[in-house]
């Protein structure tokens, strides 16, 4: 059992939890993730390690409430326990030798991108972050990104920062002559696909963090497989980071929708359950 030390709602649909997990905190590196089960009957879901404190022994997760399990997770309070919490899984993001990097985050993907930006900053690299949200109410981690990078805030509707998509901002930066060793982009699949199309045009190496449906997270089941450069890769052990110019995004989008009808149903059930508890 893993204790929740701190809980904070970052916006109406995104919550932060610090979990007591000293062994994982000791080993965690940016780009790695954990798999948790909320209760003894729960589904296994992967969430990225958004931050950690090796001394204090906690690991931070930041999650968007999108379905049954994240809904249940969001109902836990400080002092409550999570049944299972395993990690750190996956390969850490490769940052060695990078001097100048653009970190692009979309929505809750910013939570995954932040520890990487922070690590790059601490290594002395020049970091430009381009973070995008649908609107002002959904903005998260603004101050955190500001502390470790030159930040460009984008919103789809212009209610905060600059109006437009992250691709527009990145294009401007590249065209204005910024020379990046690498672009690291994390967000919805469709956003990563378009950023990769853009950076390919300019020949800038691009790393994406993929988030296929997973179960074990140990390389045992192959459910998380992707096609990268024509080869089958398992995101949980070979990734989740891959060369964005080689990833078959269309296949990943298709596979991600495998359980759509089931998920909608499970989410409604979870919501109904909590509605009943409130009454």
């Amino acid at each position: 059992m893993y204790k929740i030390l701190r809980r904070k709602e970052l916006n109406p649909t995104v919550t932060l939890l610090d979990i007591e997990a000293p062994l994982i905190a000791k080993k965690a590196e940016p780009g790695q993730f954990i798999i948790l089960r909320v209760d003894s009957e729960g589904e296994r879901i992967p969430l990225t390690i958004a931050d950690y404190d090796r001394e204090a022994g906690w690991v931070r997760i930041i999650f968007q409430i999108v379905g049954g399990t994240t809904e249940k997770l969001n109902h836990l309070k400080e002092g409550d326990f999570i049944n299972d919490f395993v990690g750190p899984l996956g390969v850490p993001t490769h940052v060695d030798g990078l001097k100048k990097v653009a970190v692009v985050g979309g929505g809750v993907g910013c939570a995954i991108a932040f520890p990487i930006a922070k690590k790059l900053h601490n290594m002395g690299a020049e970091v430009h972050s381009v973070v995008g949200f649908r609107n002002k109410d959904l903005v998260i981690l603004e101050d955190d990104f500001a502390a470790v990078s030159d930040k460009m805030m984008m919103t789809d509707d212009g209610s905060h920062g600059t109006k437009g998509l992250v691709t527009n901002a990145l294009k401007e930066l590249i065209e204005s002559g910024e020379k990046y060793d690498e672009v690291i982009v994390i967000g919805p699949l469709i956003m990563m696909k378009f950023v990769c199309a853009l950076t390919k045009e300019y020949g800038v190496k691009t790393t994406v963090s993929m988030n296929p449906i997973m179960i074990d997270g140990t390389g045992m089941c192959g459910g998380c497989r992707l096609t990268v450069g024509g080869e089958t890769k398992f995101a949980c052990v070979d990734g989740p980071d891959f060369d964005g110019h080689l990833v078959d995004f269309d296949e990943a989008l298709e596979r991600g929708s495998m359980y759509k009808p089931f998920e909608r149903h499970a989410h409604e059930e979870a919501c109904n359950l909590f509605a009943k508890e409130v009454q």
Partner: protein, 314 residues
């Protein structure tokens, strides 16, 4: 006088048209009378070919003689000397190519149903024995075991009985390896696996789940910082291999491991399971071994109308 019937005693089982719609165990096990009658088929022959066919060399004729005499606990003690997982092995060991494959009675007729007898004895013990096993005296040596599949569990049991301080590290949230994530409930009920693991805990074995060794702790750390003097790696077969044929990443294409893990470990066959599974009407299973049969039978029980086994040999 031995029972000279050429056929094994049938083991009662669920009716095919009932069992293909549920995940309860297919085979129901012998009654005491059936077990004793079957055990009486053993000739107790001198050279004991069955024992040489058994990977852990259980003293089969002796345990079978105890069954024939109705002393089931004595039979259990004989098996337990050599096997850490009798209730599991009695169900899923390939007896036809091991002990029973060598049985003299099999030359003319069917061999003695050693597997069914082993299962009976283990189940009898698990149901009737309330005594906990005596914890052996500690020899003060610490051993780490990575992986809680049958190999890890067996190693843990054998070492614990010798007095070692054993800790099993398992990557998943539940111990058992293929026994809990691969082999379906209808062939090997998970309560039985749990009972065998609880038995190891009674012997003093510690089980740490959610521990991916190599990620959360390295083998060096287990030895240098945690004081383990030896490490046994029983991490199983690992990655599934795909065939690299067009379309294999389409929605609805599963590796057996993923399909069976969803069904067994995550209980996706239950209506209220939090983990989804695709319930298809028409299913093709590529392969022809134990794993393929488990997948095909699971698909049928999930409601498939047609299940095809596609196999490259005749």
């Amino acid at each position: 006088m031995p029972n000279m019937s050429l056929k094994k005693n049938e083991m009662p089982s669920q009716d095919p048209n009932v069992r293909n719609k549920n995940f309860k165990e297919v085979a129901l096990g012998y009654t005491k009378e059936q077990a004793m009658d079957e055990a009486a088929r053993c000739l107790n022959c001198k050279n004991k070919p069955c024992v040489t066919g058994c990977p852990v060399q259980i003293d089969i004729p002796t345990f079978v003689q105890h069954v024939a005499a109705g002393d089931f606990e004595a039979a259990y003690e004989v098996i337990a000397k050599s096997s850490a997982l009798p209730a599991v092995c009695g169900r899923v060991c390939p007896q036809e190519s091991q002990c029973e494959g060598k049985c003299v009675r099999g030359i003319k007729g069917e061999p003695v149903a050693i597997g069914r007898l082993e299962r009976f004895v283990a189940d009898y013990h698990n149901e009737n024995c309330t005594e906990k096993p005596v914890k052996p005296e500690s020899n003060g040596h610490k051993v780490a075991i990575i992986g809680s599949g049958p190999s890890g569990l067996t190693c843990a049991g054998d070492l614990a009985k010798k007095g070692y301080d054993v800790t099993i590290f398992e990557a998943l949230h539940l111990a058992g390896g293929v026994l809990v994530y691969g082999i379906p409930e209808f062939r090997l009920p998970k309560a039985i696996v749990q009972k065998e693991i609880d038995g190891l805990k009674d012997l003093g074995v510690k089980v740490e789940t959610n521990m991916v060794i190599g990620k959360v702790l390295s083998i060096d750390e287990l030895i240098e910082e945690y004081g383990f003097e030896a490490v046994f790696i029983g991490s199983g077969a690992g990655l599934p291999r795909f065939m690299n044929i067009p379309g294999e990443n389409l929605k609805g294409v599963y590796s057996a491991n993923e399909f069976l893990t969803r069904v067994n470990l995550m209980k996706a066959y239950k209506d209220d399971s939090a983990t989804p599974i695709m319930k298809a009407k028409k299913v093709a299973v590529v392969g022809g071994g134990n794993v393929a049969m488990d997948a095909a039978r699971s698909a049928k029980r999930l409601g498939a109308e047609e299940v095809y086994i596609v196999y490259r040999r005749s």
